[in-house]
Each structure stands twice: as structure tokens, then as C-alpha cells.
């Protein structure tokens, strides 16, 4: 595993930088009136996450993030926004009014507090299996056979082969669904 990482100050700085930027853009994303602006901020969040993935030695995932998430999904979103001409924010006064915001944020904070409580209550230490260190060491010892991708690709095609195939079926279904739903009804409905 990536035990050989050294926790340099630079690394921490980078981590916090991208973290904060991600949060800021997320907040911005939520508060924008126009969907296009919102989409842009979300893309920004995704980029920050990709960076963080890299810092967490998940290079493949970072690549996928940029490629699939930002590239594909966000593009589709933007495409749909443009298609339906929802760009102009005027008719989208969709905020639920002052009261709704306050209550929503309050609920969010409550949830956040609970999750934080869970994190801090040494649950993580308890989660760590005792033999973790040994396993990590063993994993580290083995050379990175497949390079960066190896550790991800191996399990993907060994234990989780079935799951992998199933995802393809899922995608097929999604495509068919999208096409059918999207098609303009020819018969008068």
C-alpha cells in the first residue's frame, strides 16, 4: 500500500488547500440561482476531489473522476440544461424562502455534528483491524505488480468480476431507459 508516503508539511498544505476550495465551491454551487453557474461550481468541486484522490494515492480513481464524472456526467447535465433552455435564472426563483433555508441548514448541521461525533468517538481506531499494520506491511512488501492500477484492477476482475459484469447490465438498462423516456411520443398522448 502506499505506506511510503511522507507526511510533509507540503502535503498537508496541499490537502487543506484543496479541501477548503472544495467546500467553498460546494457552498457556492448550492447557493447559485442559475443552474449553469451551479454546474460550473460543481465541476470545480469535482476537480478538487480529483486532486485529493491523487494525494491519497488513488491515481486511477482521480483519472476516472475527471474523465467520467466531470467529463461525462457534468457535460450531460450541462447539455440538458442548455437543451431545455433553463439557463435564465428569472423563472427559477426556486429558493423556498428564508425559513426553509435556515431549517435545512440547521438539519444539515445536526447531521454533520452526529457524523463528527461518530468520527471522533475513537470509532475509527476501533474499526481498524488489529492485524492492519501487518497486512499493510505485507501489501507494501509486494511490489507494485500492476503499477498504480494493479491494486485496483486485481480485485476488480477477481473477486468483484460478477459485480463488474452487472454494472455493464445496469448501464445497458440505463441507456435503454434514457432513450425510451427521451423519445418524443409520436402518437397523440
Amino acid at each position: 500500500m502506499l505506506a511510503n508516503q511522507f507526511h510533509s508539511l507540503f502535503y498537508a498544505f496541499g490537502f487543506y488547500l484543496f479541501g477548503l476550495v472544495a467546500i467553498a465551491s460546494a457552498v457556492a454551487f448550492v447557493t447559485r440561482k442559475s443552474p449553469v453557474a451551479a454546474a460550473m461550481w460543481l465541476v470545480n468541486v469535482m476537480f478538487c476531489l480529483a486532486a485529493l484522490y491523487v494525494m491519497l494515492d488513488a491515481q486511477f480513481i482521480a483519472a476516472m473522476q475527471v474523465l467520467v464524472y466531470t467529463g461525462a456526467i457534468m457535460v450531460v447535465f450541462l447539455f440538458v440544461i442548455m437543451l431545455l433552455n433553463l439557463g435564465h435564472p428569472s423563472e427559477l426563483a426556486d429558493a423556498r424562502g428564508r425559513w426553509g433555508y435556515i431549517f435545512a441548514t440547521f438539519i444539515g448541521l445536526v447531521m454533520l455534528a452526529e457524523v463528527m461525533a461518530l468520527n471522533r468517538a475513537n470509532t475509527i481506531e476501533r474499526m481498524i483491524p488489529p492485524d492492519l499494520a501487518a497486512r499493510a506491511a505485507a501489501a507494501a512488501a509486494t511490489p507494485l505488480a500492476g503499477g498504480i492500477i494493479g491494486p485496483v484492477a486485481a480485485p476488480l476482475f477477481n473477486e468483484y468480476l460478477l459485480a463488474f459484469e452487472l454494472t455493464s447490465v445496469l448501464l445497458l438498462a440505463a441507456i435503454v431507459g434514457a432513450v425510451v423516456l427521451g423519445k418524443r411520443r409520436t402518437d397523440a398522448r
Binding site: 438539519i107 445536526v110 447531521m111 452526529e114 457524523v115 461525533a117 461518530l118 468517538a121
Partner: protein
Amino acid sequence: MMHPAMIPEGAHPLAATVARFVWLLPLLPLLGFLINGTLAMLGAAKVGPADPSAGHDSDDHGHGAAHGHDAHDAHHAPTRHKYAAITSLVGPGVLVAAFGLAVACFFAMRSVDMERPFLLTLFQWMPVGDLNLTASFLLDPLSMVMVLVITGVGMLIHIFSVGYMQDDPGYPRYFAYLNLFVFFMLVLVLGGSYPLLFVGWEGVGLCSYLLIGFWFSEKANADAGKKAFIVNRIGDFGFLVAMFLMFANLGSLDIATVAEKAVELPMGGAIVTAMALFLFLGCTGKSAQIPLYVRLPDAMAGPTPVSALIHAATMVTAGVYLVARSSAIFSMAPMAQLVVALVGALTAFFAATIGLKQWDIKKVLAYSTVSQLGYMFIGVGVGAYVAGVFHLVTHAFFKALLFLGSGSVIYVMHAAYHATHNHDDAQDMRNMGGLKTYMPVTFYLMWIATLAIAGIPLFSGFFSKDEILGSVFARISHSTLAEATLFGVPGGTILLIVYVLGLASALMTAIYMTRMMLYTFHGPNRTGEAERSHLTEAPWIMTGPLVVLAALAAFGGWLNVPELLSAVGPVGSLDHWLEPVVGEAALRTTLGAAPHVTHQTELMLVGTAIAIAVAGIAFALLRLKPAALVPKKDSPAATGISRVLENKYFVDEGYDAAIVQPTLAVSRAVLWKGLDAGIIDGLFVNGSALLARAFGWMGSQLQTGQVGTYAWVLLIGVITLLGAFTFR
């Protein structure tokens, strides 16, 4: 019906005589009922089509209805019922046979020493636990007297009815009910155990319901019948409770055993008094005493012979018979006896006052019956059972005569009104007057009865009424009654009040009876010119029985002559005759010694009685002026006292307002609508259904279709889950 038990040796001497066919006595009228009943059904009924709801053809206005409507509004010539001939034979014939058998039994009984009553067991009726009830007939001097009266007077009334009801379309139905009535009356009188007596008791009530409501198409008649039955039932409730007391405390319901065991109970104890009082409640229901007398005047809605048979001679006397039959119980409860005597006296006085102002001839007789019944209860109340029964017998004679006489008058008046299509009231004395010229025979016979009931010497009424008053007077000083107290008042004073009330009602009896005779037979005729030509004497079939009854009314006194007038005939024959049955109980009341009154007090008593009777008649003859009377339709409404009396103290309206309407209102508003439909149904049953639906509705509010709401709900679920983890 199993063949009566074979006659074991050492059995009752009567078992060998004709008396063993006593079970035939009630059977004959039952046969009469069955035959007449089938005839009535055959005549009236037309069996319906196989499919009742096939084509509701209401067009042919069921002409079948024609044959059933009653005589009152028969406009074309009255048609005799097609089976009338058979019924006229079967109906009275059955009674004649029964009377013959009764007389035969009577002579058999005379020739035999009747120490023990003759008990004939027919079959086991209710063998349950330690109450093994057997259906058995009890023949002893008391029931013999009653049987003779019932079958004798009943026979005469049946014969009279042949004439009176001849044009009525319901002719066989009428005789069926009449026979059924005599059957139940005989079962009542011959019943060997209280439940069997109760069978007769309620059966008679049932028949009076059927007969009073005979012309049922009139709502008034049907109401009267219903009222009679329900008031009877109230009395029967008392009888029932008395039977429960007997069974619970004495362990048996057979008359003989109850009499033996009752004597062992403490004298004047709570149980015996309660038993006696409840029995008396039953008697008030049946014999129309103070609280429950209201049914008798309304019972006049039935045909007149019915009133004669049921409401003069037989049914109403059942109460007196019951008290005489359970003399053992009553003699053990002096307080109860005082109650009986007092209620009897009050009823006699109260009814007599109402009788003064009645205009309907049958209502006068009805209230006179209630009054005379009061007398009988005074007799049996003070323990003079023989006097009570004696008055019962003589009353049966002259009251039956009076009722049948009034029946003839009404029959003739009705025929007259019918001929001229006049819808005036054929029973109201104000429309009569001067009938003695048209109906001489009925006129003379009715006078004999009036003299008898008024108490004129040598007529039967004098002997029996005088003996009752005499026995009351004799017991004022020397009897268990004198020592007992009722509501704190010593027995003696109560008996004195009873005696005074008795005298007063005797005076009023003489007045209203003479009033009735004056308004009906004397003075100018007020019926109307056209009808006058139709007023003729009633046919012989109706006046024949009247003559026989008149003879009995005149010489009835001979049955039990007091030794003072020993010249007239055998002294106290009825006393000897009933001695084995009621003698012991009577002696218990008079502390063992036969009630003796000094010679001159007896003379004084007889003197006052005669004076009272003569004064009453004279007062009426002088005071009342029949000529001043005006026919009913234009006579002024009564005012003041006479209005109150005429409307019988508004007692009926009082009962209705005080008891009937409130119960109806309560049960309708509170019980049914309020409790049943309201609380139980409304609150619990439908309420719980509503609750279920309410929960369902709340659930549905969540499904607003808004995606937002679902998100919220989802989130709240997450938070609670997390919360659970964090605070675990």
C-alpha cells in the same frame, strides 16, 4: 294425555265414583274450542298461491275481506256465518255436557265424606331437580262450587250468546274463544299445583284479550284487549314471585303440600306475609282491585255476553278463589289479611262512587262488579272465606242476569238503530228510557236482580252481603286481625273502617242500580220516533236464560241461611259444605272459637243492612227524575264533581301519563337512541372504525407527491438512525 292412574286401594273414596272422569270436565270445552276453531278457520281462510310474490295483483281488492268484517258497519242484511248451525250446537252443547258431569260429580261428592281432597294425577309435567311438578287435578268442595258456578252460569251465557251473536260474521270464532275461556277457567279452578293454576290463570287472561278485542277492526277494542292482557300480566308477575317464594322457602309448589308447610312457618312472619301480599297482587290484577282495576271498565268493549261471563261471573272471581284456596297462607299473615280487606273496602267504595255518574249501561255494571268484588275481598280478607265464596256465587247469579239483561236491551236498541241507519250510541242510557212498555219480561227480571244486588231481604244479595258485613263486625274484637297492626293502625280500627266503607258502598250500590233501572226502563222513551216501532222484546233464546238466572238470584240466599232466619231453610249449608277446605284457616283467624255475636247485635246488624238498602232505593226513586233526561247527542257536558266521576277520576289518563308515556319516552330517547345507537354503536363500534380511518388519513397526508417531502422524511430517518448510534 295418559290414562289417569289406575285406582290403587286405600285411594280417595271419590276415585270409584264418576268423579274420576273429572279430567273430562276441562277436556269438553277444549274439544269445543278445537271444533269451533277449525270451523272459523275454514270459513275465513283462503290459502294463498304457491308463489307469494308472483305479480303483486292489488287490483282485485281482496274481496275475501268482505266475509270478515264485523257486525257494526254491516250495511246490507247481516248474513249468518255458513257454519253457524254447527257452532250453535257444539258451543253450548259442550257446556251443557260439562255442567251435567259437574252435577254428577257434585252428587257423588255429597254422598262421600270429603275429609281429604281428591287428587287425580294426569302426567308428570316438569320433573326437574327437586321440583317434580305433576299435572294433577284437585277436586274438593271449594273447587266443586266454582266448577258448578262456571259450568252452570257459563252454560246459560252460551245459550244467550247463540241469540245475541247470531248475525255476527265471526260467530264460530266467538264460540271458539268462549269455549277456550271455559277450558282455562276449569283448569284454573281444578289445578292441583300453583303452576297448573297459573296456566289457567294466564290462559283466562289470554282469552279475555281475545274476546275483548273480538271486534278487532276498531282500534279502541283492540287497545282495550291489549290493556287487559298487560294489566293481567302485571298481576301475574306478583303471582310468579309468590310462587318463587313458595318454592324457595317451602320446597314445593303443590297446593296441598304448600298448605301443610305454610302452617309451620312463623305466624305473621316476613316470608308468609310476603307470599300472601304477592299472591294478593296477582289477585288485584285478575279481579280488578284498586291499583289494577282500570282494565275492567275498558273490557266492556267486548260483546256483552263476554262481559257477563268473564267480567261478572267467572274470571274476576278467580282472585277470590285463589285467596280462598291459599287460605292457609293468608291465615298465617294477619297483616296481609288486613291489607286485603282494606283494599277490598277501598275498591268497593271508590268504584261505587264512579258508578253513580256513568251513562253507559255496561260501564255502570262494570263499576258495580268492581265494587262487589271489593266486597268479596273484604269477606275472604277478614278470614270469612265461606262468606266471600257465598257472595261470589250469589253475585255470579244476579250480576250475570244484569249483564245479560243489559245485553238484551242493547241488542234491541242496536236492532232498532240498525233498521233506521242511525249511528247513535246503543249503550247509552240517555238514549233509552221507558223500555218497560216494550220489554216487560226483561224489565221484571232486571228488577229482581236490582233488588238482589241492593240487599233487599229474602233476595240472595241480602244474605251474602249481610254475612260479609256481619263477619267483619264479629272479627273487630276477637280475632288475630284485631291484634295485628297495619301501618301502625290497630287491626280493630281498620276493620271498623272496612265495615263503614262496606255500608257506604252498599248504600251507593242501591242508589246507582235503581238509577240505572229508572233511566233505562222508566220515564219517557228517548230513543227517537222512527226507532220506537222497532223496540220489541228480545227473542226467547235470550230471555230464557234470564228467567233461570232470575230464579237463582231470588232464591240464591237459600244456599247459606244464617240461623237468625232459620225459618227460611237449612241453616249454613254452604258453611258445612266448605268446612273441610277452609274451616281450619278460618278458625285460626278467629283464635279457635267460632265468631259469635250476641243476639241483639246480630239483629242490629241485619236491621241496619235492610235500612241501608231501602234508603238507597227510596232516595234514588225520589231524587232522580228520568223525565228530565235528554238524549245523549244534545245533553250538556257534565261539570264539577259529576264530570270527575264521569271520567272516573281521570285514573286512566293518570296511569298513562305517569307510567306508560314516560317508559316509552325513556326507552326511545335514552335506551335506544341514546345508549344503543349512541354510545355503544356510535362511540365504540363506529368510533373505532372512525379511529382506524383517521390513522389511515394521517398516513396519507405524508404522500404529498412532492419529492421534497420525501427527501425530508428520508433525512429525518437518517438523523434518528445516526442519533441512535451516537447515543448508544
